[in-house]
């Protein structure tokens, strides 16, 4: 990280997206993370995603917990409201925010300690309610900010920088999300922007709980030999089941694909996902099969990445509880307060 503030002056030539924002409009404060931290690459991928999806920054609410990963929302989308909750409790805060205004786009950023240890319960319940959000776990297998203790996603037998071996069974957030009914589940790698960005685009256009586990190595405490969350390990054991081309309703389709190799998924908003299957057997619409596949590969020490499951016609929490389409935070006093005559009638019921 460098201490010289970037000049805020914007080069007139900077390319604008369809809503008139430049790439820089999606940036945030200068990162205070370690040079080379995987989390910074994820922030970069998010910036690219929002710019290309042409989402106005103020239409996004970014929430996080506590940890190096949870600090990142300060480092992108400087023109969006942000909320650093307490450790492991972002999902509840995000749920409440979402209830208050269904019209914004909700991004939850968390870490593996934040999500799988102290926050496991909130993560699970937020997902099973179908809160409309993109939930990213920046997964490095350790507690970065507290200096490298194992987190609950560390694999059994993986080695800590200090040399200790992890003896607890790992929590695979992706399998857990599948078990809990998440309607969009993916895994990616901070080192693979090509895979990550389209997945993010697909997630932000999904209506429901989208959970993305992004392996994001901690160069400071968990990038050594023996760690299953190091850059090298993930590169060597990355088993990508598919690749996405994301096509918004606006774009006309240019690429053409060899027949049979590609599956087309159309989402609520008309956006289209072209899924080129790397593993022809893999079906991202079969929850049970997906879980079995993950369990098998995990045994083999493979890191399965890609779009693992999608339910394009998912319904979110608001649909379940039939909330008004006008965001609750926009309802006026007259919509909310029944007034004195109604009260007289109510009093009568209690006589």
């Amino acid at each position: 990280m460098t201490y010289i503030a970037k000049p805020k002056f914007q080069h007139p030539g900077l390319k604008k997206n369809t809503v008139g924002y430049t790439h820089r409009d999606y940036e945030g404060r200068i990162s205070t993370l370690c040079a080379g931290c995987g989390h910074d690459s994820i922030s970069a991928a998010l910036i690219e995603t929002f710019f290309e999806l042409a989402i106005e920054p103020h239409r996004v609410a970014k929430l996080s917990g506590i940890g190096c990963s949870s600090k990142t929302p300060d480092y992108f989308l400087g023109q969006s409201h942000g909320f650093n909750a307490v450790h492991g409790r972002m999902p509840s805060v995000l749920t409440g925010a979402n209830l208050a205004n269904r019209d914004l786009i909700y991004l939850g950023v968390s870490g593996d300690g934040d999500s799988a240890s102290i926050g496991l319960g909130q993560f699970a319940h937020c997902v099973r309610r179908g809160v409309n959000m993109v939930y990213i776990c920046e997964n490095n297998g350790v507690y970065g900010l507290t200096k490298g203790q194992f987190s609950a996603t560390a694999d059994k037998g993986s080695k800590s920088k200090a040399g200790g071996l992890n003896s607890d069974s790992p929590i695979d957030l992706v399998s857990l999300a599948l078990l809990l009914g998440a309607t969009f589940v993916a895994r990616s790698f901070s080192g693979d922007k090509k895979q990550l960005v389209p997945i993010l685009k697909a997630a932000f256009t999904h209506e429901g709980s989208a959970v993305i586990d992004v392996i994001s190595p901690c160069v400071q405490f968990n990038n050594h030999v023996g760690s299953t969350k190091s850059f090298d390990f993930v590169r060597e054991h990355n088993d990508a089941v598919n690749r996405i081309d994301f096509i918004t309703p606006r774009d006309e389709i240019t690429v053409d694909y060899a027949p049979g190799t590609v599956e087309t998924v159309t989402q609520h908003d008309g956006s289209i996902l072209k899924l080129s299957k790397l593993d022809p057997a893999y079906d991202p619409h079969d929850r049970a099969a997906a879980m079995a596949y993950l369990a098998e590969k995990a045994k083999a020490g493979e890191v399965v990445t890609g779009l693992l499951y999608i339910e394009e016609d998912a319904e979110d929490l608001h649909a379940h509880i039939n909330t008004a389409h006008t965001p609750l935070n926009k309802l006026a006093e007259k919509d909310l307060c029944p007034g004195s005559t109604a009260l007289e009638a109510i009093n009568e019921e209690y006589r």
Binding site: E56, A85, G96, A97, L99, G121, N329, C337, P338
Partner: protein
């Protein structure tokens, strides 16, 4: 409670419109509705009652009591003692018998003769063969007959106490509206009891209810029900909660009223969102998220929930996020007495969470204020940008109270506090989230999504400067922390002030009380005044304490502080926040889980005052 003597001389208590009836039942036996019907019948006779449900923390089979005080004078607190015991629970027979006042009455099921049971010579037995009578009800199954026994003793009581027949009929008709078969059956049961009593117990009971006109247009409602309704009127749209006795019925009431009042007639869509969270931590998290995002949101919980929410309370205080929290207090610590009442979460709420915090609390005295303060608390939370704790208790929350009809002033408007709009931002108003621009220490906030490129900020519980930027600078930190202290000063001017009532004659004695103690206190002061003991009283309605509180204390030499907890928690707050010499205070503490009684307060104060009088005399 008076010591039962065995003197056979004692005359049976004779009284009209002023006595206490207590029903001792087994829970899950369906007694609740019959007992409530009894209370309502007295109301229909134009005579005020107050009723208290003393139930176990279980669903079926354990002892449960329902205490009804009939009070022509209109006293609504517990009096203490029982004049007529309806002893339907063999498990508690002895205890129940012992509780009866000298010369009181005991109604029981005389189907089987009393053999082993303890008795008291001074207590008049009113035997009604409930089982036997219920067996005469044709076409009923055992479970039904079990239920109808309760209706039969209701019938017997209506005869013994002299209810007008129409009253009970109307109530039963109303209760089973539409189910004619049930109406018939229940009326038949009432009749059975009534006839039996008239034939066999005539002249045995000298407690009477005489038609009066003391009820007027008052309503009979629980504090939780009123609070839930108040949240609807206050504009709450999000409720996140986790079930816990005695707070559950706040969320249930909000749900009930929303379904009636907040469903769009055309689209059938809900203008509210109610989430049963996975626990209290999630519930308060949702409440903060919703408030941060511009909706009025609340949660309702009890002690254990308040403990679990601590970390989030600290965040809300420091990041200045509005929130409304109903704490329906129960007996602590820990799981404690889930179905008993107490006022023992005060200190935990006042200084919630680690680090230095001060939290706003308001103390409704009963259902009316539960309704008003519930609505008010959403204004307060948004104006002060901080959590507001509505401190109630099981007694207010879960018992039906006879109170004035609820009122709403249509002229009144929600006050959302300092929320900067897109227009204001475009109008060039500069936005700095934590800067005290108006001198009242309350900064401005913006709601997410307000403006494309102005007024965004980052909310965090880590140290920040006046511009909401992360900072580890000591002076940035202290600047914010000192402003928060000033904001608390501002709060004094916004919260409901105390209610002072001076005795007929000037006095050096004062008494401070709050919440559910009020009804017992009203009666106690009257009784004391009748005994010539002059005590000025002050009812606290909020924390922080406004200056009137300090003035009141300074204006008296000795001040009683009456609380329903063990450690004089409110007194501790008074001493510290008003800088008072503790010796000035005399605490009267009642914390066995039963609502405080007028008797307890009266005798405790009287005793203490006479002692000091004597001392003075010597």
């Amino acid at each position: 409670m008076s010591q039962p003597s065995t003197a056979s001389a004692t005359k049976p208590i004779a009284d009209t419109n002023d006595f206490v009836v207590k029903f001792a039942n087994v829970n899950g036996s369906g007694s609740a509705s019959a007992n409530e019907l009894f209370a309502r019948a007295v109301l229909r006779m134009g005579v005020p009652v107050c009723s208290r449900n003393i139930f176990p923390s279980n669903i079926q089979g354990l002892p449960t009591w329902y205490e009804v005080r009939v009070s022509g004078e209109g006293w609504l607190g517990r009096r203490g003692g029982v004049d007529l015991m309806v002893a339907m629970n063999p498990q508690t027979w002895n205890k129940d018998l012992a509780e009866i006042e000298q010369g009181g009455y005991l109604l029981y099921d005389s189907t089987k003769p009393l053999t082993s049971q303890k008795l008291r010579e001074d207590v008049t037995l009113l035997g009604v063969p409930l089982t036997q009578l219920s067996n005469t009800l044709e076409g009923t199954i055992p479970r039904e007959r079990q239920l109808l026994k309760n209706v039969i003793y209701l019938g017997a009581l209506s005869a013994l106490l002299g209810f007008e027949a129409a009253v009970v009929e109307e109530l039963i008709g109303r209760q089973f509206k539409g189910k004619d078969k049930l109406i018939k059956l229940n009326l038949r049961a009432v009749e059975l009891g009534h006839d039996y009593a008239t034939k066999n117990l005539a002249g045995k009971c000298h407690l009477k209810v005489a038609r009066a006109d003391k009820v007027g247009d008052r309503i009979f409602i629980s504090g939780n029900d009123a609070a839930g309704l108040g949240a609807v009127y206050g504009g709450a749209t999000v409720c996140a909660w986790y079930p816990i006795t005695p707070s559950t019925s706040v969320a249930e009431a909000f749900t009930k009223h929303c379904k009636k009042l907040r469903v769009d007639p055309v689209t059938k869509e809900n203008k509210f969102a109610i989430i049963q969270a996975e626990d209290e931590i999630a519930a308060i998290g949702m409440v903060l998220g919703a408030n941060w995002n511009g909706a009025r949101a609340f949660t309702a919980t009890s002690g254990p929930g308040i403990s679990l929410m601590q970390e989030f309370f600290g965040l809300a205080y420091y990041a200045e996020v509005p929130a409304v929290v109903f704490d329906i207090q129960r007996g602590g610590p820990s799981t404690g007495m889930p179905t008993r009442t107490q006022q023992s979460d005060i200190l935990l709420a006042a200084y919630a969470s680690h680090g230095d915090t001060k939290q706003v609390m308001i103390f409704p005295k009963g259902p009316n204020e539960a309704f008003e303060f519930s609505a008010l608390s959403f204004d307060l939370a948004e104006r002060l940008q901080t959590p507001v704790f509505v401190m109630m208790d099981l007694d207010i929350g879960m018992n039906d109270w006879l109170v004035e009809p609820l009122k709403w002033d249509d002229a009144r408007q929600y006050d959302r506090g300092k929320v900067m709009t897109a227009e204001e931002l475009d109008g060039g108003k500069t936005f700095a989230r934590y800067l005290d621009v108006d001198g009242d220490a309350i900064p401005w906030r913006t709601i997410p999504g307000t403006h494309p490129n102005k007024g965004t900020f980052f909310t965090r519980g880590s140290s920040h400067n006046a511009y909401a930027v992360y900072s580890e600078e000591g002076k940035d930190y202290t600047e914010v922390m000192q402003r928060l202290l000033r904001k608390f000063e501002t709060a004094k001017t916004m919260v409901p002030g105390p209610i002072r009532h001076d005795a007929k004659a000037a006095t050096r004695w004062g008494a401070i009380y709050f919440g559910s103690t009020s009804v017992a206190m009203d009666e106690a002061s009257a009784k004391l005044e009748a005994q010539g003991l002059m005590v000025d009283t002050l009812r606290l309605r909020a924390f922080p304490f406004s200056d009137e509180v300090v003035d009141f204390i300074n204006a008296h030499d000795q001040v009683f502080v009456i609380e329903q907890n063990r450690d004089a928690q409110m007194q501790k707050l008074l001493v510290n926040e008003c800088t008072i010499d503790p010796v000035k205070f005399i605490s009267l503490l009642h914390y066995d889980g039963a609502p405080i009684t007028a008797r307890f307060i009266t005798s405790a104060i009287a005793e203490r005052m006479s002692v000091t009088r004597k001392e003075a005399a010597e």
